[in-house]
Symmetry: C2
Subunit: 138 residues, 2 copies
């Protein structure tokens, strides 16, 4: 086998390796459930709440293929105000998330720590942006 | 060259192709600028505003290596309320974003369309979550 044809073959396989990964994450933006959760925590419970939420969001992203993002943030000027960007592949993925042991544990154990909770349903403004982000951070 | 050694060689190159991509996105969570922008648009300008924002967010993600996310959303129950999750690699990337032609065009052309604007600085609750998300959607 000539050196050049070997190189072409290797490059082709390299590219198709990458392609396969990309295609396996072929999310349909129209089906996604996107939510911004605004949660205010009683300051005396903040440390405990954060530890439970951390555990829950990691478990969700790691264990559930349909959880695209559970990305929790704190307001810099008031860390007791939590915002979470939640993105689920589709309604089925969201409903199955609600039935997981890690979500149930989070929900029951933090109930008393929450001062107010607002779940805001969102639409992505550009259905192409999510695949673009995927491509970008790939 | 034997078939097996050729296969091993190809696989090794494949893996190193993937590894190179991953390492090039080695973001430092502590350095990131994370912001949730809350923008209310005058309803009569909404269509035009969305078209300009779409263009701006796509250009930013495509052209600027330091823009990790400009992810615009609309409230389902009131599409004139926009939320954008903006993540920049670091302060330098954010400052350079402000100087781009696409941002300047967005800013000046939409000024009259904006009813209210709130820029909320955030901290990621879990500095490990972003790399985890990268890994997940890779």
């Amino acid at each position: 086998m000539g050196k050049i044809s070997l190189l072409v073959m290797i490059l082709t396989i390299c590219v198709s390796c990458g392609g396969k990964e990309q295609n396996s994450k072929n999310f349909d933006s129209e089906e996604m459930i996107i939510r911004l959760s605004e949660i205010d925590i009683k300051p005396e419970h903040l440390e405990e709440y954060i530890s439970i939420l951390k555990e829950e969001s990691r478990a969700s992203v790691e264990l559930e293929p349909g959880v695209i993002s559970i990305y929790p943030m704190q307001l810099k000027e008031n860390p007791a105000q939590i915002r979470i960007l939640e993105i689920y592949k589709d309604r089925k993925a969201y409903e199955s998330h609600l039935e997981t042991p890690h979500f149930k544990h989070y929900k029951t154990s933090t109930l008393k720590m929450v001062d107010s909770l607002k779940l805001i349903d969102m639409n992505a403004l550009d259905s192409e942006t999510m695949p673009m982000l995927f491509k970008k951070i790939k």
